[in-house]
Subunit: 151 residues, 2 copies
DNA sequence: TATTGTTATACTCTATAACTATA
DNA sequence: TATAGTTATAGAGTATAACAATA
């Protein structure tokens, strides 16, 4: 410690699950951003490309549901990808607008998938393959306990 | 799906560790915010109170290191707590300024600790007590793998 | 010179309210 | 009316650069 060198700094956060969840998620998101930078995409844009590539013709609402995001927050991301020539808004035959990737978008989608796979392998390399599903199930349960359960 | 009801929406994110880490951390932070709202504090302010209460006389740099935060981002939080009469900046005998809680701050610190404990119990209630340390160790390892390891 | 604390700034993410268009 | 998409906006959270004060 800076002021009183005789006393060590006590960090009560270090034993808290919530703090480590938050910190680890931040580190993982940062690493994903670095992995995607060479593709000219940030994590949000790449995730959008990933989802639309896997679901050609899906609507903006579908994506918002999958991401648990507010539809309004997707608008600037989608517009940027559309302006970059990566995706096309199909002729809306009604309210929902089907989104599809252009040829350029599909080419980049392949690189995005590879980057995601490499990123997943990196952050999960200390977890044996047969345990990764259990870890995800644990996170999903914590999410439920935090959100929906009785206080 | 809205547009083509025959095809189900494929969610590649659902099998990704990174996505669930991010989503769970967001849910946990949201739950912490709700738990702290009755105390008039947000998670950042409460964490600051928690750290200073556990380390009377610590400096702003100590806190920044513990939180892995930028010192510049602590300034408005500390000022708000000081203006609220919860903490005092001691007479700086040099560059570092020792931070201590006022009597009012110490009283609130007790309630903050109780709220943190209840929150930890809530988000960890599906994890047997003897496994919680393992889960934290796992998160810490993922954090290291994401940050520092070879790409 | 190196460190602490501070200010200003900017970018991302997130959340809401209000509007339009369509079934 | 209900749903989809959009716009504007506001609030956190986080990052850097630049500066003043002190060892």
């Amino acid at each position: 410690m800076t002021i009183d060198p005789d006393s060590a700094f006590t960090d009560p956060l270090d034993a808290m699950l919530g703090f480590h969840l938050r910190r680890t998620a931040a580190a993982v998101t940062g690493a994903l951003g670095e992995a995607l930078a060479p593709l000219g995409l940030n994590p949000g844009e790449a995730t959008l490309l990933r989802l639309i590539g896997a679901n050609p013709g899906c609507s903006q609402s579908d994506i918002a549901r999958a991401l648990r995001a507010q539809p309004a927050n997707l608008v600037p991301l989608i517009n940027k990808l559309a302006l970059s020539g990566l995706l096309e808004k199909g002729a809306g035959k009604g309210r929902a607008i089907p989104l599809t990737l252009t040829a350029e978008g599909q080419a980049l989608h392949g690189r995005v998938c590879a980057a995601f796979d490499a990123h997943e392998a990196r952050i999960g390399r200390s977890i044996p393959m047969e345990q990764r599903h259990d870890v995800i199930a644990l996170l999903r349960q914590i999410c439920l306990d935090a959100c929906c359960g009785p206080a």
